[in-house]
């Protein structure tokens, strides 16, 4: 398997008037050709900013540390001119807020064809033809008419389909979809997910699907990476994450998934407490303030990702959830003195 994207010890920092925000705190992973990777975590866990930094789209006050390579080429610190040859062409991204992601004063046609003109040097006619193909692929009715319309003339679901079509125009090798269904009606959400599942089959693109909904991941992804406080808590295949969760946070997320049990709705479980303050993250385990199994080591030592089974890893000091005792062999970083004095 060849990696399209290799991320190593990536960190994202934001300078703010009341201190530095540590949004992403050293994550490493690969996205391989044709693979679908799910990134899950609560709001504020750093999912979006992780990929914004890969795309060179951080806000002005943000900076990226570490490395992110597209087919061996370093993206971090790459001059914008060179980056512009990759984004939109090789790597495409769909954003969380579909309602405001299209330029209000430009026709859909222009917004789509300009991508092809830019990256493929296509003429107007060829670009329009290709744009129509893509609109049909994402099942937009009356595609030809849409090209002459403005974003405000289309529904939210339609706009999101257009965003998806636009991202796929150049046949990217990697498609990053940041919560492609938030801000949409439930029925439209289902349609978009359906579409994503189809696209996964027909395009060769590797897909990163960012979501806080484990259900979405279950239907679409091969691998899952569970994020909390800007770190990965657990990574593994969909089966492993769903049926053998090894991290207390993953177990909490799974327990808080709504589901129907024997015809009656269970009372929804929620992980107690609040996501951590990213300006004053605990130096050791970021989940310690909300974890049922928190013990001394969790406060003194940062747990590092380690294999539970090959390909399935967790960042937790526990031996296992079935036998929740501290594992003395668990790899960790001692941060005790700093943590205690901080």
């Amino acid at each position: 398997m060849t990696a399209v994207l290799e991320v190593r010890d990536l960190k994202v920092r934001f300078a703010t008037p009341d201190g530095e925000v540590s949004a992403v705190n050293g994550v490493s992973f690969d996205v391989n050709e044709g693979e679908c990777v799910g990134i899950v975590g609560e709001s504020g866990s750093g999912k979006s900013q992780l990929f914004m930094s890969v795309m060179g789209l951080l806000a002005k006050n943000g900076r990226t540390l570490g490395s992110a390579k597209y087919r061996g080429t370093e993206l971090v610190g790459m001059p914008v001119k060179d980056l512009n040859k990759i984004r939109g062409d090789k790597i495409a991204m769909i954003f969380q807020d579909s309602m405001t992601g299209l330029t209000p004063h430009l026709r859909i046609g222009k917004q789509m064809t300009e991508v092809l003109v830019q990256h493929k040097g296509m003429g107007e006619a060829a670009a329009v033809k290709r744009a129509l193909e893509m609109l049909n692929l994402v099942r937009i009715p009356e595609a030809a008419r849409r090209l002459a319309q403005y974003p405000h003339e289309l529904s939210g679901g339609m706009r999101q389909r257009i965003m998806i079509a636009m991202a796929l125009l150049c046949e990217p090798e990697l498609l990053i979809a940041d919560e492609p269904t938030t801000a949409l009606d439930v029925t439209v959400q289902a349609q978009i997910l359906d579409l994503m599942a189809d696209l996964k089959r027909v395009t060769k693109a590797a897909i990163v699907l960012i979501t806080h909904d484990l259900g979405t991941v279950a239907g679409l992804c091969d691998k899952v990476q569970v994020m909390y406080g800007g770190r990965f808590m657990e990574t593994g295949s969909v089966q492993e994450i769903f049926y053998q969760p090894a991290h207390p946070y993953t177990a909490g997320l799974l327990a808080s998934m709504p589901r129907l049990t024997e015809g009656r709705r269970e009372k929804l479980y929620a992980i107690p407490g609040q996501p951590p303050n990213l300006q004053r993250l605990p130096k050791a385990c970021p989940f310690q303030e909300r974890c049922d199994y928190v013990h001394e080591r969790c406060v003194d030592e940062l747990p590092l990702l380690r294999d539970v089974t090959p390909g399935h890893a967790k960042a937790c000091h526990l031996l296992s959830l079935a036998n929740p005792v501290s594992d003395p062999k668990a790899p960790s970083l001692k941060v005790a003195t700093e943590a205690r004095s901080a």
Binding site: R87, D89, A92, T100, L102, T103, H105, L106, E114
Partner: protein, 307 residues
Amino acid sequence: MLSYAVRRLLEAIPTLLVIVALSFFLMHSAPGGPFDSERVLPPEIEANLKAAYNLDKPVWQQFTIYLGKALQGDFGPSFTYKDFTVSELILTGLPVSARLGLSAVTLAVLIGCTLGILAAMRQNTKTDYSIMGIAMVGITIPNFVMAPLLTLIFGIYLGWLPVAGLGDGSFRNLVLPVIALALPQIAIVSRLTRGGMIEVLRSNFVRTAHAKGLPEHLIITRHTLRAAMLPVVSYLGPAIAGLVTGSVVIEQIFGLPGIGRYFVQGAINRDYTLVMGTVITYGSLIVLMNLLVDLVYGLMDPRVRYD
């Protein structure tokens, strides 16, 4: 769009009527009258004069007489410039003021927008700070300080340009007044442009454009500028109406025969007809410019609906 424009113009008629009525009654309720400043007249001559100008009638009757004539395009004779009608005065003065004002607006838009865009693209750098610093100065220094200063430097000290007057009517004579008039406008337009640009550059659709790998110049010209200029457009409407109807200070300092001075002189001399004439001119222009702004808005933002 045409029916919208016509409807807006019809809707403006009551607005204008209110403006006319208000200024008429305010004018007449102010103490003093048009013949107060002259030598004391024998009572019977003053009575005759007043009768000739209908000033002996009750104010509301004067108003209906004035309105009736004004609706036919007759704004009456001026009280101070006795040999001219108000229409004549406005028609000779307006072109001078309009030429001055439109030149200043053009300059303000060209330079102001360029500076604003530059400042926004280099936000929080030395370029940005210096442009905004100069703009701040441009806004704070009043016309009556800037104009003599320019005259002193370029007219007298360097001797490059005429100090005052229209001269042979060539553009050379307008350079200094246009610059004096344009400077604060450049400052305001550049600040508005910068603000609009910065807001739009932060928007989600600009982020999408970056994600598409578009080069900077396309992101600015195609995706940012149109939305960013909306505040400038709404400012320019009324501003143009104001500039075109003459700047009292500038016309006075540079000795230009525009209509700006008529308004002030008219008010001081209780030249009722002249004041009313300038008020109506200014009011109509404001109405027209606001309509124009709304139409331009529609061209710039497809979400604007005329209904």
